[in-house]
């Protein structure tokens, strides 16, 4: 579904991603693990074309994304949930959802407000409230809901558990599993290993913009060297 082929990305002068390659298959949830500064966010942004890779290809359903602008990428069916949440604080919840709305896609049930409120009941209660009145957890839910309104086939989640109370993180995990059942593919950038393990099928570990590991969590478990070097607890 998504294929990242030897991309290099720079941020200013700093070389962040170094010949990074990995894949996400249809219906799969993949965790992108690594410590802060390893290049996780840059990877997500490079897929989204918010950062332009200087070389290499990003392919989504065999279409080359390079040189597209972010809105074209989004239109193709990639939904982006940024790290800093970035909800529109002056807009109501309903309006936030409206910003994300895109036409339905063939072969998938389109998301609408009613369906989303089933998954995120908290949001319905406060649908006329402005974004700034929401708690951190609610804001995070809204970001995901807003992105789902675009009916993506692949969801890019950048550190969704960051700064969220453990109890909400549990809800988040349930949500991701629900979405997986709906047929969505997910690429999850995470630091919370516990969380990543529950929701994802496979892990990709990066360090200094290079891939260090790609495999299932069982394989990761059986490779303590890798685990300790890049993630160790």
């Amino acid at each position: 579904m998504l294929e990242v082929n030897a991309i290099n990305s720079h941020y200013g002068k700093a070389h962040i991603l170094n010949d990074l390659s990995f894949r996400v298959e249809a219906g799969e949830v993949v965790s992108l693990l690594g410590r802060n500064g390893a290049g996780k966010t840059t990877t997500v942004k490079s897929i989204m074309q918010l950062v332009k890779p200087t070389s290499g290809d990003v392919l989504f359903e065999n279409q080359r994304l390079n040189r597209m602008s972010p809105h074209q990428v989004a239109k193709l069916g990639i939904g982006y949930v940024p790290e800093e949440r970035r909800i529109f604080t002056d807009l109501t919840i309903l309006e936030n959802l409206e910003v994300g709305r895109q036409p339905a896609r063939d072969g998938m049930a389109a998301w609408n407000k009613e369906r989303l409120f089933e998954i995120f009941p908290n949001l319905e209660e406060r649908k006329h409230n402005r974004g700034k009145a929401l708690s951190g957890g609610e804001q995070q839910m809204l970001t995901i809901a807003r992105t789902l309104m675009g009916n993506p086939r692949l969801l890019l989640l950048d550190e969704p558990s960051e700064g969220i109370a453990p109890v909400i993180v549990e809800d988040m995990a349930k949500t991701i599993l629900t979405l997986k059942k709906e047929g969505l593919s997910v690429l999850l950038s995470e630091q919370n290993l516990h969380f990543a393990r529950i929701v994802s099928d496979r892990a990709v570990i990066i360090e200094s913009g290079e891939k260090k590991f790609d495999g299932t969590f069982e394989e990761l478990e059986s490779n303590p060297e890798i685990r300790d070097a890049y993630l160790s607890v």
Binding site: S69, H71, A74, K75, F88, L91, E95, V99
Partner: protein, 618 residues
């Protein structure tokens, strides 16, 4: 009572065009964060295009459709400007785009002169609305009533568009975080273009709809600029109802001002603005600016280090070369070099504020002109010797900066900029209109230097010592603890405050220092020209300063000076041609597009790419 109502209606009618133009500016600023200096030019184009259309389209239908078509045409011109000029520079540092819009002003001025000629044109009167209606015995023009009736519909239409439609939701979302809107699948470029179309169209509509009350002329672009900025700021940047309330407030107050204090014209508007912003810093319906919330803060400045020995040696050598100028070049070049140094000092003082302090002052001319006026007034009234007058100029300008700085520093960002503009305009209008004391527009003349400096060469050396000395002093200050504290207050006021730095006081002192050095430049200026006039306090002068600082590179230490020197020399050359405004405008736009980090910033970026090392500017 009848007169009171008639006056109220006059005010409401006057508010119409003002609101249309200001709402367009507010909308464009809200979404694109561009302070569009060229908005007055759109207004002027609306008037001229509307006028031309009315010549060919007959009758009432022709009249009203001309107004609409003028709006659409100006909207289309706005789109062209957005696509060709602004789109390439959206990623440049914040506020850099205003340099480009300044280029657009120049280009449009000359194009309008080419197309419509120099003579003012009088707009045709509205067919069927030429007469008056008697309201309680007072005559009220029918067209005034039409304007009063139309404006709320426009306001409602805009309000509905912005708050009830999907497009409006997207516009508001983009106002806050345009990158995120793009990442959600919305083509934000077209959203921007659309907003620019709408904003420009509103300005064009404003220009066309006032035709029956006036006409079109080549000065109307700058003439409306200050008023619409005032309206937008009083109403709250980005708020349409705010713009309407402010337009009505200003217009109605103006009508009563004319009736009861006729001398108050000009000053009144700025007093109202100063009062409103003192009570409500973000305007009547504006909301607080949260720094960096728009996701386009731009990359931070590079760390700085004092110049090394090699660089110092080079500077010394160049100064020696400069000192040889009177011996090798014609006298005129000594005069030009004097002008260049004076302007460089002015730019350096603004850069100190803007670059190091992160405080964007739109009214820096107040201290330049203020210093010049202090010196001139002392010479004129107290027959002060040149030395004393020269010394008092920076002190006087500094005092002015102390007061204005105190008022403005309660705000930040664009609101700060706007308040500095308003207060500078207040100073300007006082000087302009208090002619018993300041000579008004006729200025103060015969302010010549002391005997021993009266020779052009002697004055050049004097300027070199004082001017370049001032520039070097400002530069030195950047490397001292105070300069660091100033940068710290800019980079992170939170951290600075949490580590014992009184950021507002640091900024206040810096504001004053910038005022002092601008005043020093003003003193050098007045004695080199022998006279001073209110134009030295005008918006255009402040803009000149901003343009050169941005053009030179706001995020580099030498940007202000390099920009000032380049522009002065370029201008001296280019104004020899007939359509120099067109040429200068195009040159400015070209530089903006080619070198979005400014001249020095771009040269440095190229050098860094080539040598790919060094995070430190020398």
């Amino acid at each position: 009572m009848g007169l009171f109502i008639a006056q109220l209606l006059t005010g409401l009618a006057n508010a119409a065009a003002l609101f249309l133009v200001a709402s367009g500016l507010s909308l464009i600023f809200g979404v694109t964060r561009i302070v569009n200096f060229a908005h007055g030019s759109f207004y002027m184009l609306g008037a001229f295009i509307g006028y031309s259309l009315m010549q060919v389209l007959p009758g009432a239908i022709g009249f009203w459709s001309s107004i609409l078509l003028a709006g659409l045409a100006v909207g289309a011109i706005g789109v062209i400007v957005e696509l060709l000029v602004l789109r390439p520079v959206y990623r440049a540092p914040e506020l850099f785009q205003l340099v480009a819009t300044f280029g657009v002003i120049l280009v449009i001025q000359d194009l309008a002169l080419m197309i419509w000629g120099a003579e003012d044109v009088l707009g045709p009167r509205a067919p069927g609305l030429k007469g008056i209606v008697r309201i309680m015995g007072e005559p009220v023009p029918q067209f005034d009533l039409a304007l009063i009736a139309i404006t709320p519909f426009v306001l409602f239409g805009l309000w509905y568009l912005i708050s009830r439609t999907r497009v409006g939701i997207l516009v508001r979302a983009a106002t806050q975080d345009r990158e995120m809107v793009g990442a959600l699948g919305v083509n934000q470029s077209w959203l921007f273009t659309g907003v620019f179309f709408l904003g420009a169209a509103l300005a064009g509509l404003g220009g066309a709809i006032q035709l029956p009350k006036g006409g079109a002329d080549l000065l109307m672009d700058f003439n409306i600029l200050a008023s619409i900025f005032v309206v937008v700021v009083i109403g709250g940047m980005g708020s349409l109802p705010g713009a309407y309330i402010a337009a009505v407030l200003i217009s109605v107050l103006n009508v009563f001002g004319v009736a009861y204090i006729p001398q108050s014209t000009l000053v009144l508007m700025f007093v109202v603005m100063a009062v409103v912003l003192t009570v409500r810093p973000y305007g009547l319906l504006g909301r607080e600016e949260v720094a960096g919330e728009h996701g386009q803060v731009g990359e931070p400045e590079k760390p700085i280090k004092p110049a090394g020995n090699l660089a110092r040696g080079l500077v010394a050598l160049l100064l020696v070369l400069l000192a040889c100028l009177p011996f090798v070049a014609e006298p005129f070049f000594t005069i030009l070099a004097t002008d260049v140094i004076v302007f460089c000092l002015f730019a350096a003082s603004l850069h100190f504020l803007l670059g190091l302090g992160g405080m964007v002052s739109f009214g820096h001319a107040a201290y330049f002109g203020g210093g010049a006026y202090v010196a001139a007034l002392l010479v004129n009234y107290a027959s002060a010797p040149m030395e004393l007058a020269f010394l008092m100029a920076p002190i006087g300008a500094g005092l002015l900066a102390v007061i204005i700085g105190w008022l403005c520093l309660r705000l930040s960002g664009v609101y700060f900029a706007m308040l500095t503009l308003a207060l500078a305009q207040l100073v300007w209008s006082l000087v302009f209109q208090w002619d018993e004391f300041t000579g008004g527009d006729d200025g103060l003349v015969d302010i010549w230097p002391a005997e021993y400096l009266s020779d052009t060469t002697a004055y050049f050396y004097f300027t070199m010592v004082v001017g370049i000395g001032g520039i070097l002093l400002l530069r030195h200050m950047a490397h001292t603890p105070f300069g660091y504290a100033l940068r710290a207050s800019r980079d992170s006021a939170r951290q600075a405050e949490a580590t014992g730095i009184h950021t507002k006081r640091i900024q206040w002192v810096a504001f004053t220092i910038a005022g002092v050095f601008a005043g020093l430049a003003g003193a050098l200026f007045v004695f080199s020209k022998g006279s001073v006039f209110p134009v030295e306090l005008e918006i255009a002068k402040s803009f000149d300063g901003l343009i050169v600082v941005f053009l030179g590179g706001v995020k580099t230490l030498s940007g202000g000076v390099v920009g000032a020197a380049s522009l002065t020399v370029l201008q001296d050359f280019i104004t020899r041609f007939e359509y120099w405004r067109l040429a200068l405008g195009l040159v400015i736009i070209a530089v903006v597009i080619v070198a979005p980090r400014g001249i020095v910033g771009s040269i440095r970026a190229i050098a860094e790419q080539r040598f790919s090392r060094g995070e430190v500017e020398r």
